[in-house]
Each structure stands twice: as C-alpha cells, then as structure tokens.
Amino acid sequence: MLYRETGQYKTSYAADSVIFPIRQDRIGVMIVLAIAFVFMPLMMAFKIPPFRNDYILLAILLPFLILSLAAIGANILIGYCGQISLGSGAFMAIGAYMAYKFGTGISEIGLPPLPIVVSILLGGFSAAFVGILFGLPSLRIKGLYLAVATLAAQFFFDWVFLRVKWFTNYAPSGSVSAPELKFFGYLVSTPIEKYLVALIFVTIFALIAKNLVRGNIGRQWMAIRDMDIAAELMGIRPLVAKLTAFAVSSFIIGVAGALWAFLRLGTWEPLAFDINRSLELLFMVIIGGLGSILGSFLGAAFILILPILLIVVPAEIGLPITTETVSHLQFIIFGAMICFLLIKEPLGFARLWQIGKEKLRMWPFPY
C-alpha cells in the first residue's frame, strides 16, 4: 500500500530523468543517508549498544564502506561494460601506494608532500592511467581470456610493490605507514571521524557512478557488454567505451585502495592487496548483482558479514571446535553459499531487491 507510485505525475523532462523517479525511493534514500550521517555517529558518540566499543565501527562499518566503493568500481568494469577483471586488487594497491607517494612527497622531482585529499585523488588517477594501459588488450581479447590477462596486472604489481623500493620510500621492512590524515586542516584520528570521511567519499563517488551509468557513457558501456560487434555497427566506438570503463573503474578502485590503506590499515604491505582481494571484489559484484550500484553495496555487506558471522555464531552457541576447524568450515560454508546463490539467483541480490519491490507494488494482490 505504501510503496505505490499512483498519482505521481511528471510534468517536465527534468522531473522524468531524476535519479530516483519514485517519491518513496527518494524518501528511503534520504532516511538511509540520515541514519548513516547523523544517527549512527550520534549512537557511536554516546556509546549506545551495539556501539559499546569500536569493534563494529572498525571491523564492519568502515571496511563495508570502503569495499563497497571498490565494488562499485569493479562493477562498472565487470557489470556494466562486461570486461571480466581479476586484477582489481592490483589497482587498489596502485591507488594506495601512489597516494602514499604523493602524500609524503616525491623528492626526485622536488614535489612537496601534497594535501591528503589531493593525494588520494592523484592515487586514483595513477590507477586510472595503469588501468587504461592494461585495458588495451581488451580491444583484441574478451571474456575469460581477458580475465587471465588482468591476472598479469595483479601478479606484476604484487611484485613491483614488493621489490621496487622507491614505492615504499626505501623502508627496510617493506611496509609503509599512512601520512598524517589532515583533511583541510582538520586532523582525522578517531574511528568516528574516519567513518565519516569514508562515508563522504563513498556517497560522492556512488552518486557520480550512478549518474555515469545512466547517462550516455554508461549506455555505451552496456551496449558493448550486451554485444560488442552490434554496438560497434551502431556507431559506438569500442576503443573509447572500453577504455573509459577501464579508466573510471580503476580510478574508483584506486581511490578505494587509498582509503583502505589510509583509514582502515594505517600500516600496510603489498600482501593487503593480493589475488584474494581481487577475487573478493569479483564475488561482491557477482553476488550483489552485475550492473547495479545498489548491488555493489549489498554484495560488499554479504561478503564482509558472512565470515564474521561464521566466527561469532559458533562461539556464541558454545560449540567446542578448534580454530583450525573453524577456518576450514568457513571455507566450506563460504564456497557453498556462493554456489547456492549462483544457482538460485544468478543475477544477485539486486535482482531479489527488484522482485521484492515489484511484489510490494502489487500488494496485497498476487499479480
């Protein structure tokens, strides 16, 4: 009854092409944003349960936000443009290490340490540049062949950040620490502040991504995904469409990588961005829903929360099992869940959400 667009008339083109055409959706988004920006920080500030300590904030919310952003980036490439990538982790690493280099200054060319926001964005641009380079093969190869080609990026950059000392400012241990997190003169140090910074970044980039994919360029990506030869015959230039997808996707993933390193990790090694990170992002995209911004969030939430539940639940029930068994069980349940979801709903959570909305619209009638 509540979710029905009856009586909402559009009288101008502008009104017809807004992001959320249905009033209830707009209200829903507003409520979610209000909770995220106002309600949650207040609860954290006054330590109201479940925020009694920083655990939920640091172990769930912050990673959720940043990985959602990375998943949006991966979804643009995989879900919207149809180019399978197994190298997302490498682009996160490029974002993180280049942001670190810009944030601490590059003495070889006399560049002073840049402000943190600028370094994060420049980290994103560096990732975008490399993304375009590794996107070039996509003009000749496609599908699973491309997936293996992007693996080359993953392994190559794992090695680069491990072996080329310039990227780590010649740190003997090979691990680096984020520069001071000063955003416009304001020092970010507490978990709540970090959460808010991540939230602002994610909101802005999710908005940009949402607008890109429903505009001209996004439609070009989708045409390429659905059938590239037909798209080319219709006048879409595959070179431009594919490389912009690679660039935008790598940029967002790079920014997410920089945020992950600066806000979540603080001190990190190349291992933080290995092949498992790439696979994790791929899972988020597929399980959340290919070609859906909302799906990226849902997928990130699922992939992040499932392992935590698998640790917490047996501990709560008091099952007497060893940590080794737990980690093996985690593998099994995780894999089984993925297979199960793929079989039951290959289009992911975003599709379930859509079905739910359709049902709600018809309610209380079955059809």
Binding site: A149, A152, W159, H328, I332, L342, P346
Partner: protein
C-alpha cells in the same frame, strides 16, 4: 662450453618443470573442451588428490603394509575420492547451472574451489606431508661434452615420461573409445550431442573424473617435489598463462604452452633476473601470456575465433 652447459642445464630443468604446469593445464583443457566451463577448481582438485593419496599411504605403511601395495591401494583410494568429487560437482554445482553464461559457471567453480579446499583439509589435515614416490636425486649427463656435466633431477625426468604417457593415453581414449568419442561430440555442440542420445550429465561426470585423475598424477609428482601442502593450489594459477599461450581447447597446446612457460621463466630468472631484481618468476609467465594475447588472441593452437551477430 661452460656457458652452453649451464644454459642447457637451465633450459632442461625449465622444460621439465614446465611439464608439471602442463599436467595442471591439461585438466583445465579437458573440462573446458567438454563443457565450456573454465574450471578454477583444478588447483583445489590437485590438493585434494594429493592429500588423499599421501594420507592413505601413510596410514597403510604405518599398519605394516609393503610399500608397493600401499601405493597401489593409495592410488585407488585417491581415484575413488576424485570420482566422488566429480560426482558431487556435476550433481550439485554444474548440473543446476546448465545454460548459464560462462562467467556464472566460472564463479561457481571458484565457489567449488573453496568447498573442496575446506573439505580436503578438514578430512585429511592441513600440514605439509612429504611424499616419496619417485627418486629425487640428481643425475649427471653429458660429462664428456661439458665440463662438469649437466645436472638433471631424476624426478623431473620421471615427470616428463609420465606426462608423455598420459597424453598418449588420453589421445587413445578420445580417439578409440565410445565414451571418448561422445566427449568430443559434446565438446563440439551440446545440443546436437544431446539430440543424438548422448547423456550430457554422464559425459560431464566422466570429464570431471578424467580431470580428477590428471590432477592425481600432477599431485603425485608435485607432492614428491615439494610435499603435499596448501600452496599447491597457487601453482595451479600458473596453469592459466599456460592455457592462454597454448589455447583453451587444445591438448597439445597445453603441453607446448607448459614447456614454453617453464623454460621461459627459468631462463628469464637466470639471465634477466639479475638486471631488474630477482623473483621475476612470479609474474613472468603472465606477462608472456599477455604478449602472446596481443599477437595471437586464440593462443598457439586454439581454434580461430569467429564472431557472428
């Protein structure tokens, strides 16, 4: 002569290491040919086969059974485990996903990878288990020609011989048995094969079983070399560039690709490594594959990709 001798030594050890990549790649090719599924789980299957073999072997030897009988029984046990694995995968993962697109199938095999790895380690344990099936000492050849001769590891030679036999056996199986020919029919066209009465589910089971047996052979050799342990699954990732270079659908391609990758990365490590920093073995194969893709997208032996609207 010294130079040439050391070059040959590196080349031969690389080629023989490449044979092992070929063995893993072979499993991928078999499944891809018959079902169009890009099987990420091949590495996990090598781990499962290796663990089943080594644990059964240890168990029987500890009970006082002669070594040769224990090996035979262990092989049979591991083969049975692979058969169960093939059945489960076909029945519960791929069967329900018939006619989905390649990406979904690929993701499902990643899911299966996690399950297989978890189950294998839960049942058989997760330590490093040494396996002693083949001699691992070195063997010096060509002493008369090169000063000091060329060091060749006997295990690598065994690996090469076994891989050769395996390829011959597979070729015979594909050419001369009823099931083998049915497999080729399914590979050409699922729907047409089904319409002439070939049971797809059975064929897929057989393919996964054959891939599992290839994994068992790979596990026996890898396991003797490095001990059966979790990191075997990462070696399987090396099989991906091998596939790219050889072509996804070609058995000879998997062999030649493996040899190129094995020899290429050893030579690169020895002759190129000192100039750009060590450890390039880690990514060399992938970059080589990328270079091949730029020139020949379908790989050396792959079928020409023809696109229609």
């Amino acid at each position: 002569m010294q130079e040439l001798g050391s070059f040959l030594e590196v080349l031969i050890s690389g080629l023989l290491a490449g044979v092992l990549y070929s063995l893993v790649a072979l499993g991928f090719v078999l499944i891809f040919k018959a079902s169009g599924v890009f099987n990420f789980a091949q590495g996990a299957m090598v781990l499962l086969a290796g663990l089943a073999l080594v644990r059964c072997l240890d168990f029987l030897v500890a009970r006082g059974m002669p070594f040769w009988a224990a090996v035979a029984l262990g092989m049979i046990f591991a083969a049975a485990v692979m058969a169960i694995c093939a059945f489960m995968v076909e029945r519960y993962v791929l069967g329900p996903l018939v006619n989905q697109n390649a990406l979904t199938m690929f993701m499902a095999t990643i899911g299966a990878t996690f399950v297989i790895e978890g189950v294998a380690q839960m049942i058989f344990g997760s330590d490093v288990y040494p396996l002693r099936l083949f001699p691992t000492d070195a063997w010096i050849a060509g002493e008369g020609v090169f000063p000091g001769g060329i060091l060749i590891n006997k295990l690598d030679v065994w690996g090469g011989v076994i891989a050769g036999l395996l390829v011959v056996a597979l070729a015979l199986f594909f050419q001369h048995t009823k099931t083998g020919r049915a497999l080729r029919a399914v590979a050409d066209d699922h729907a047409a094969a089904q319409s002439v009465g070939i049971p797809i589910a059975w064929i897929w089971f057989v393919v996964w079983l054959v891939a599992g047996l290839v994994a068992l052979v790979a596990a026996a050799i890898w396991g003797t070399k490095l001990g059966v342990q979790f990191s075997i699954t990462f070696l399987a990732l090396k099989a991906l560039p091998v596939l790219i270079i050889g072509g996804f659908t070609s058995v000879p391609g998997a062999i030649v690709g493996g040899l190129i990758v094995g020899a290429g990365e050893k030579l690169a490590e020895v002759y190129l490594g000192p100039f750009i920093g060590g450890g390039i073995e880690y990514w060399f194969a992938y970059v080589l594959a990328l270079a091949v893709l730029m020139v020949r997208p379908q790989g050396l032996y792959g079928e020409k990709i023809i696109e229609r609207i």
